[in-house]
């Protein structure tokens, strides 16, 4: 168990180095970026002192990392506001979107994937595989635009854009999230259905599935009793891998539906070249992905007794 924690910390450190190098070293003289090319030498020197970019690079990095450990994500280059306060309120939007999208994707993909595997040669199997192929090809933001047009504009059932915090009005919160979560979830479902199908196909090919059939379980019961747990092993990995794609999908969906989440903040900051905020957000997103993947690794041990033995020995 300790080894897993070590690996997680190491991965986090590696990711933070990459992010810091890209946002602090590559742009060259940060002060020039902020003050623009008209600034005098004195102004540049003052700004460098203020930002601490006159200190050795490693010290700047450590300052940033230890700051984050205590919740201080540094300050915006332009507004001077602490990044943490900028991020805080917006996290709820992105989390609702990502969790909603992933849940919807799983809700669609798990049953359909099982059907696609079991009824491989009949029409349900072909239909699901074809739908999944097409679903994967549709860009999430196009799906979003079409949904906005159909349900938001033409039918007017749902608000075409905007967000209402859950605290203020849960119903309005939900209504505002239906279209974005659908756009994100359906496309991800198409990707997941294929993984679910191949995971179940693999299980259907296993000898122990056939043993379960030979003692009297029907196809579905054998799959439910012996298939799901073994398929879960590979599915859990897929969810870990897909999480990064869902988060990135959420960034784009926030722009389509004008949702004030981390994604739209990230995009605004990118266009303003405010890299202090950008690296804060990206670090947070990457942290989320690595943390979930670490949890995935841990869940492996819970599901598969073979690993449990190795862990304890």
């Amino acid at each position: 168990m300790l080894a897993r924690l070590g690996i997680f910390a190491l991965s986090l450190a590696l990711a933070s180095v990459v992010i810091f190098v890209i946002t602090q070293a590559l742009p060259g003289d940060v002060a020039a970026v902020i003050l623009g090319h008209g600034a005098t030498a004195e102004q540049l020197a003052a700004k460098r002192a203020e930002l601490g970019t006159d200190r050795p690079f490693v010290v700047q990095y450590l300052d940033w990392v230890f700051g984050m450990a205590t919740g201080d994500f540094g300050r915006s280059w332009f507004s001077g506001l602490p990044v943490a306060t900028l991020i805080g309120p917006r996290a709820e939007v992105t989390i609702s979107l990502v969790v909603g999208g992933l849940l919807l994707a799983l809700l669609i993909a798990l049953p359909l994937g099982a059907v696609a595997a079991l009824k491989r040669r009949q029409w349900p199997g072909f239909l699901t595989s074809t739908a999944a192929q097409v679903g994967m090809a549709v860009p999430a933001f196009w799906a979003g635009i079409l949904l906005v047009f159909v349900f938001g504009v033409t039918l007017g059932w749902l608000p075409p854009n905007g967000y209402v915090p859950i605290g203020r009005d849960p119903v309005a919160w939900a209504r505002h999230l239906v279209l974005p979560v659908t756009a994100l979830g359906v496309v991800q479902a198409a990707v997941l259905v294929r993984y679910v199908r191949s995971a179940f196909l693999e299980v259907l090919g296993e000898d122990h599935y056939r043993t379960a059939r030979s003692i009297g379980w029907t196809r579905w019961r054998a799959l439910a009793r012996h298939g799901v747990r073994n398929a879960a092993l590979s599915l859990v990995t897929v969810v870990g891998l897909q999480l990064a794609a869902v988060i990135v999908g959420a960034i784009v969906i926030e722009r389509v539906f004008v949702l004030p989440g981390l994604g739209s903040l990230l995009l605004d900051m990118v266009s303003q070249h405010d890299l202090a905020v950008v690296r804060g957000i990206v670090m947070l997103l990457v942290l989320a992905v690595l943390a979930i993947n670490a949890l995935v690794d841990v869940s492996y041990v819970l599901i598969d007794p073979r690993l449990r033995a190795r862990e304890s020995s």
Partner: protein, 270 residues
């Protein structure tokens, strides 16, 4: 069923390539600059797919859009394959601790999907086709490393490699004579699937205004523009989306078809 997938995929891909090549030679109207035609005209004659908010012929922009989609795809997948495949073979050959370290780095890289890396680089270097290609390429390297390593590992565990070693065949010769030909189909499948993902990523980036600059027509940006006029002229939001979906579907189908067509070991599961 698998053979049909490959054919549909090849037809779609050929279509996109044809559109791209045609756009070098001819487009019905000028695809850039301010159009002389009426703005937001509905599909009809001579503007087959209508015109956009600047009066530019949509069909012409779709043609040129195909070119930038393929351009980004080729360069990005090129970068990913040229870096990923050798690293993958190296990872298969390295002793356990060496490979372990490398694969941990690959896991971290998976936390930086193409779009996130592209957004990050756009923030530093400003939005451009080049940053998009570089970011998508770098973000796809881990997928190639993983596929190549898995394929190479099974080849290196085979008896024919052991027999080669027993005759003293040098390591690089084993890599070229035995490993590469037997993982080529895996890399081919990964290339077509990654091409599809590259097109999707480029489209999303252009939609966000972080990919190909406005001067160069791109399907993603066309959708972005179409969205602002969605209430009055929804038609413009259909064609670029269909183009993206068609190209991505094409490459995915080719990838799937290749996977089953070239990999004889994939027997039917009972």
């Amino acid at each position: 069923m698998k053979r049909a997938e490959l054919w549909i995929g090849l037809v779609l891909v050929a279509g996109v390539v044809a559109l791209a090549l045609l756009s070098f030679v001819w487009t019905p109207f000028n695809p850039t600059g301010v159009g002389s035609a009426p703005r937001l005209a509905p599909p009809g004659w001579p503007h087959v797919l209508g015109t956009d908010h600047m009066g530019i012929d949509t069909f012409s922009r779709i043609l040129v859009g195909a070119r930038s989609a393929l351009y980004v795809g080729i360069i990005a997948v090129g970068i990913a394959a040229l870096v990923g495949v050798p690293l993958g073979i190296l990872a298969a050959w390295l002793p356990r601790w060496g490979a372990e370290g490398m694969m941990r780095a690959v896991d971290v890289a998976y936390a930086f999907p193409a779009l996130l890396l592209a957004i990050l680089l756009a923030g530093v270097f400003g939005a451009s086709t080049e940053t998009a290609m570089l970011a998508i390429g770098i973000a796809t390297i881990p997928a190639f490393i993983r596929v190549t390593r898995a394929g190479a590992l099974s080849v290196l565990a085979s008896d024919y490699v052991l027999a080669a070693r027993a005759s003293g065949t040098p390591v690089p010769v084993i890599a070229v004579r035995h490993v590469l030909p037997n993982i080529a189909h895996l890399v081919g499948v990964q290339a077509s699937v990654s091409f599809a993902m590259a097109i999707l990523a480029e489209a999303a980036l252009s939609y966000l205004g972080l990919g190909t600059p406005p001067t160069v027509p791109s399907w993603g940006r066309m959708l972005g523009d179409a969205q602002t006029y969605l209430f009055s002229h929804p038609g413009q939001a259909v064609w670029p989306g269909l183009a993206i979906a068609g190209a991505v579907l094409g490459f995915n189908l080719v990838g799937d078809g290749l996977r089953d067509f070239l990999d004889p070991k994939l027997q039917e599961v009972s």
